[in-house]
């Protein structure tokens, strides 16, 4: 009964909203023009990076805080020490060993590319995290226990750097107001910090979690 009602509601919603979507006229405001007009002043030439780190950089700052919160909450509910890693077949281990430097190179490339073409801190951080997960899955990297001081510093460094720079830029008149001449450099510095911390956080989401028993799937 409930299932039928929900099904009917969902269908009605799809038809109603879909119909309204199709008959929609052009939008009142087009931000594409504004983004293009200010792109030169943003310090980067790739529009998505300009929006992510400059025009709407405040969103990104808070979003990294969301990731940290998820990590904190996960740490708060998992209190067992990490289990010993289960080594995989030596061939797999060799492949993973070989792949890791390549993945780090890819991450650096993505970070550098973000300024003028697709890429940036999030994708680069995700690749770093993937490398860590891979090493963990073949048994070369143990699951993480309660993080020590160094790991805590690494997890927060990117966010702390971003926050400190945002606050320091208040001297320019507003939060995150980059001086146009230095905007490109500052964005690269922030992204570099974020890449390392995001890599650690995203890897942590996996490695802190997978410690309640061995890590393999």
């Amino acid at each position: 009964m409930k299932r039928l009602a929900v099904f009917c509601l969902a269908c009605a919603f799809v038809v109603l909203t879909g119909g309204a979507l199709i008959e929609l006229g052009p939008a009142a405001i087009d931000l594409r023009g504004q983004v293009a007009a200010q792109l030169a002043a943003s310090g980067v030439s790739h529009p998505v990076t300009a929006v992510l780190l400059n025009f709407r950089g405040y969103d990104t700052l808070l979003e990294v805080a969301v990731l940290l919160i998820a990590l904190l909450a996960i740490l708060a509910v998992t209190d067992k020490p990490p289990a010993a890693p289960v080594p995989a077949h030596p061939l797999l281990q060799a492949v993973a060993r070989g792949a890791t430097p390549a993945m780090i190179l890819v991450a650096v490339y993505l970070l550098w590319a973000g300024a003028h073409r697709p890429g940036g801190a999030f994708q680069a951080g995700a690749v770093l995290a993937a490398a860590a997960v891979l090493l963990h899955l073949v048994g070369l990297l143990p699951g993480w226990g309660a993080p020590g001081l160094r790991l805590r510093l690494g997890l927060t460094a990117g966010f702390a750097l971003f926050l400190a720079l945002a606050a320091a830029l208040l001297s320019q008149g507003a939060l995150l107001q980059y001086p146009p001449a230095a905007a490109g450099t500052l964005i690269l510095v922030i992204e570099a910090g974020l890449t390392v911390s995001l890599g650690l956080i995203l890897a942590g989401l996996f490695l802190f979690l997978s410690r309640d028993e061995g890590g393999e799937t």
């Binding site: 929900v6 929006v51 992510l52 998820a70 309640d212």
Partner: protein, 99 residues
């Protein structure tokens, strides 16, 4: 019809599917999948609808990047809670009600 509009329509359907799943399904892992479908639907609408004239728009694209990261954070937290709960309820099988 542009790709933008087409994928916006797909987004509406995905959102409805995910939401219905979240309401109807009891199994925790399955609900996490449903939540992710819901999010993907919203993201497709955000970008697709803004690009219904076929021109890329960087602003919603950046928002979706933000949204994807928020979604993975929420997913990881939900999984952590599900695993902890399962470990505490050892023996009590999570019932698997399919959508």
């Amino acid at each position: 019809m542009t790709s933008g509009l087409l994928f916006a329509l797909v987004g509406v359907a995905l959102f409805a599917l995910g939401l219905a799943g979240l309401v109807l399904i009891g199994d925790v892992l399955r609900r996490i999948l449903a939540f992710n479908l819901m999010g993907s639907g919203a993201f497709l609408v955000l970008v697709g609808l803004a690009q219904r004239n076929g021109v890329p728009d960087a602003v919603p694209q950046a928002m979706v990047l933000t949204g994807i990261v928020v979604a993975v954070a929420a997913t990881a937290l939900a999984l952590a809670l599900a695993r902890r709960l399962d470990a505490q309820r050892e023996g009590a099988l999570p019932e698997d009600e399919d959508g």
